[in-house]
Amino acid sequence: MNGSDFAFLLPEIVLVATAITVWAVDFFTPRDRKPDLAWPAAAGALVAMAFLAISWGEHREMFLGTLRLDNFSLFFRFLFLTVAFFVIVGSPGYVRRKLRNAGEFYGLILMSTVGAMGIVSSREFLTAYISLELVAFGFYVLVSHARHEARSNEAGAKYLILGAFSSGLLLFGISLIFGATGSTGYAAIAAALETTPDFGMVWTLGVALVLAGLGFKVAAFPFHSWAPDVYEGAPLPITAFLSVGSKAAGFAFLIRLFAEGLFPVLDDWRVAIGVVAVLTMTFGNLVAIQQANLKRLLAYSSIAQAGYILVGVATLNADTTSGMLLHIAGYTATNLGAFLVVIYFHNLTGKEGIDDLRGLYRRSFLLTLVLAVSLLSLAGMPLFAGFMTKFYLFTAAAASQLWWLIALAVANSILSVYYYLLVLRQAFITPESEEEEQRPAFRLPSHARATLSLLMVLVLWIGIYPSVFVDAAEAGSRALFGG
């Protein structure tokens, strides 16, 4: 560790500086201009992204080996910055309608992003845990940020209590693992497992509790109950952030933990994780069919999506890790697209029911198009990201020979198309009443049109010609598995 190493943390430093600046400027900004603080915040995320370039190809241990900057962390750091950028750019309209203290809102998003970037670089339990809490603390405030809405407050309280509970499980698990192996560092744990293959009950309980704690973060069954309520109650941009950023951070934690620490004992856990994966996706898909509210539908759909990614964890190797990174990237672009449509639709109408989408086709072609692309991608239709990334992931997972897992995952993916089509039917096909036909067409701000189009292009790009993304994902995977 020397002074020049800090250059590699410049993205994080820039984000923290931007957050503090935004908070400071917020004091001097008149109330009606506060939502526009989004632009400096988003610019900060872009600058941070530019500084990431320094880290390309570098593999560097820092702070006594607690942090490791490699292509794996680079992949996710880039992803989180992208998410933060899109969420912030998508927010101003919503913030203007619903939220006060806009500066605080944007700053907290940036701070949570810093936390997520810390998780993916951590090679040690406590560093990862503290980064995870940094993410969570930001979200505890952000979820309840619509201070005058009962639903938002309720969601915030729930998220806080359940989050604290899951942190308790996670910490307890970490302490048991520490007790068994004498270390919280992944590499040291792996080394201890090489010499002592079985630490007995304490060890098993420790790993199970860590999995339960992380299961909460990625909203896996049966630790998912918070997700629909919190997704529904939280301000929409925060829901979008939760459903992609927070989920991706949880998976990055899981992947690095298993790849670098628990890999020697992974075989003991494959079936258990596989069962959780199947339950998660099946539950998410079955319940999604029942939903009439678009946010809740997307909440259950994102539970199902977490199940697909867990297939990769259950069959962890270099190829499935590439697959997971690829799928997370595609899912992020896709879900952001879907949520941005919901956000803009909500800004314009104040509604979020599936029925309310009637006539969307006539009122805004772009919104309908992006919604269609996003939902078809979530449904895993060819030509869209969701097909390509799931195909890659499941193909890689087939090497594990866990055919029941692959078969159930494919079945889920193929039949989920039903409820996504029901939404598209409302948007495209179901006729409006005569009264509704009088409603004017939507006028979207130009930045909204730009971000929506950008995400749609991304989804199609990954779906049709994914080489660049596959290369990036495989570079990230190699950082963990070598080769």
């Binding site: 209590i161 309980l205 199970a208 258990a272 079955l286 319940v287 590439s322 030509l383 494919v410 198309v417």
Partner: protein, 631 residues
């Protein structure tokens, strides 16, 4: 031409892009011409390709070039591809031209002519694929297009439901297909046809059998084989030209093509062929029995398609691939003819599809009647029309497969099923012709207003009638050594079985038998339906309940609806209720208990959070407990 095979799909794709982007606002009626021109261009390019006679594979671009998964997007052009392309683009072109007339008064004319070329594009790409991934992608895209076109009249609830049903049933088939692809990749580390076929010989036969059966599940979905046939009869909710396209050229032929293309995989294990042949033979007879009692003209044709596809699979199972592809081609001609003809009748009768209200139309719709009759004769496999040659070959192939030394005796049974299906085919075809065109008008008012369709609709009918009349003899004479046989003989993967015995005599007697059976069926229909009102029930009287069972299509739809769809919905509802309601319920119960015990009338805190924590803790305890026990 072989250096640029991508030009063939490009033409319909361009037509789609132009019509889709500019159609609704600027081009309007011109979209019909542009769409037809795009398909015609694809057809002419295919003819050029055929005339040059040079085949091979061409790589378009590297789709994925990294690490474990390397896939090139390319085209495979061989004899089988060329036959499929000629049929698909040729018939589609005629359907496009016909649609200009049929859809002339539709408000969404431009939208129709955007989706139609896209459908053809997907199908063209499907038959030109050189790897399983492209095949699957366009297989799905064909499904999406069918969804869009079946549900084209989306203000009709029934059309929406039919579209959704078609899509979902196809997805069930795709499930098998997708698993098969994962297994292929895992076993052979490649997804290119050639490389896979080269390896199947050395692979474990049981594994290849599983792959073949899973692929066949995919084919069953697309080609409407029992029990995944239920979507096809409903698919007629789309505009009639779409039905013609789905039933004749695109979509349903994809499954037959796929099995023929994958012949090297199916032939590794004879059980795979037996299953294909058995499902095909059963479906052929099963669907024919249903067609006998339907009164909706399009529904009769729909079940007839299911039945004829069954015959094609019987051929595939028997190993006479050429006969299957031959029948695919002739069937495309006469089924397109019959569907377009029925469209002409429906057009004339102001959208009435019930044959019970038709009758005596032969004097009013001369051209339609003449061409429809030709199509009917071809479908009934009456000598010397197209259907005779191809169907005869299928039945002969099945019989000889059963009788030959290296064959399987069960194929004799399948042959008998196929023969019974032929009898019923001739019966329901002539029942349809007689109820529609002969006798006295049953609805005088409708009959009064009926009129022949415009030339743009009649011309494709006439052309198809010529094909339905002559294609069989031109392509398939002499049997086993006709044009199509010699042509397909060179295609890789097309094998021929060694037969025993005096083939000529067997072949001729089989041809005589099937012709006699067809004539018998036609005669039966004439006896029952030609004089006076139809007496469908009169046959039913022999076996009580039979007519109703057939008319209700063996209640398969009800079984699927209540058995599977409803169960899924109920399960989803229960899970949702548990998630949202029962947790509350438990809270209320606890609250109620507390209140009852304490006797104090205080407000009860029933926030759900405690219960979520409870659920999570329970989840952790159960999973840890399970791990402790099972490890």
């Amino acid at each position: 031409m072989i250096e640029h095979p991508w030009l063939i799909p490009l033409a319909p794709l361009l037509a789609f892009a132009i019509n889709g982007l500019l159609g609704p606002r600027y081009l309007k009626k011109a979209t019909g011409v542009i769409g037809s021109a795009g398909i015609l261009a694809a057809f002419l390019l295919t003819v050029w390709l055929w005339a040059e006679g040079e085949y091979g594979e061409a790589t378009l671009f590297e789709w994925l070039a990294s690490g474990s998964l390397a896939i090139n997007i390319g085209f495979l052009v061989d004899e089988l591809t060329v036959v499929m392309l000629l049929v698909v683009t040729g018939v589609s072109f005629l359907v496009h031209v016909y649609s200009i007339g049929y859809m002339a008064h539709d408000g969404s004319f431009a939208r129709f002519f955007a989706w139609l070329p896209l459908f053809v594009f997907s199908m063209v790409m499907l038959v030109m694929a050189n790897n399983f991934l492209s095949l699957f992608v366009f297989w799905e895209l064909v499904g999406v297009c069918s969804y869009l076109l079946i549900g084209f009249w989306h203000d009709r609830e029934s059309a929406n439901n039919a579209a959704m049903k078609a899509f979902l049933v196809n997805r069930v088939g795709d499930f098998g297909f997708a698993i098969a692809i994962f297994m292929i990749f895992w076993n052979f580390r490649t997804l290119e046809y050639g490389a896979v076929f080269a390896q199947v010989g050395q692979a474990d036969p049981e594994t290849v059998l599983v792959i073949a059966l899973l692929l066949f599940v995919g084919a069953m979905g697309k080609s409407a084989q029992f029990p995944l046939h239920i979507w096809l009869p409903d698919a007629m909710e789309g505009p009639t030209p779409v039905s013609a396209l789905i039933h004749a050229a695109t979509m349903v032929t994809a499954g037959v093509y796929m099995v023929a293309r994958m012949a090297p995989i199916f032939e590794v294990h004879t059980t795979a062929l037996l299953v294909v042949g058995g499902v095909g033979a059963f479906t052929a007879l099963f669907a024919a029995t249903i067609a006998v009692v339907q009164t909706d003209i399009k529904r009769v044709l729909a079940y007839s398609t299911v039945s004829q596809l069954g015959l094609m699979f019987l051929a595939l199972g028997a190993g006479v691939y050429t006969a299957a592809i031959f029948h695919l081609a002739t069937h495309a001609f006469f089924k397109a003819l019959l569907f377009l003809g029925s469209g002409s009748v429906i057009h004339a009768m102001h959208d009435e599809q019930e044959m019970t209200r038709y009758g005596g139309l032969r004097r009013k719709l001369k051209w339609t009647y003449g061409t429809f009759l030709v199509g009917g004769l071809a479908l009934s496999a009456i000598f010397p029309l197209a259907g005779f040659w191809s169907k005869d070959e299928i039945l002969a192939g099945a019989f000889m497969r059963g009788a030959s030394l290296d064959g399987d005796g069960l194929f004799i049974v399948f042959w008998a099923l196929g023969l019974a299906a032929s009898l019923l085919t001739a019966f329901y075809t002539f029942r349809m012709v007689i109820m529609t065109f002969h006798g006295d008008p049953r609805d005088a008012e409708l009959h009064e207003r009926a009129h022949e369709s415009p030339a743009v609709m009649v011309a494709p009918l006439a052309l198809l009638a010529v094909l339905a009349m002559g294609a069989g003899a031109v392509l398939g004479f002499p049997p086993e050594h006709g044009l199509i046989h010699d042509f397909l003989h060179h295609a890789p993967g097309i094998l021929h079985f060694e037969l025993t015995g005096n083939q000529t005599i067997i072949a001729i007697s089989l041809a005589v038998i099937s012709t006699a059976v067809a004539l018998l069926g036609a005669l039966g229909a004439y006896m029952i339906y030609s004089r006076g009102a139809p007496r469908a029930e009169s046959i039913g009287q022999f076996v009580p309940g039979m007519h109703s069972l057939l008319y209700r299509k063996y209640h398969i739809d009800e079984i699927v609806n209540y058995g599977i769809v409803a169960t899924t919905k109920v399960l989803g509802f229960i899970l949702w209720a548990i998630d949202a309601k029962i947790v509350d319920g438990i809270a209320n119960l606890i609250g109620w208990t507390v209140r009852a015990l304490g006797g104090a009338a205080r407000q009860v805190q029933t926030g759900q959070v405690q219960n979520y924590v409870f659920l999570m803790a329970l989840g952790a305890v159960v999973s840890v407990g399970a791990l402790m026990i099972f490890r």
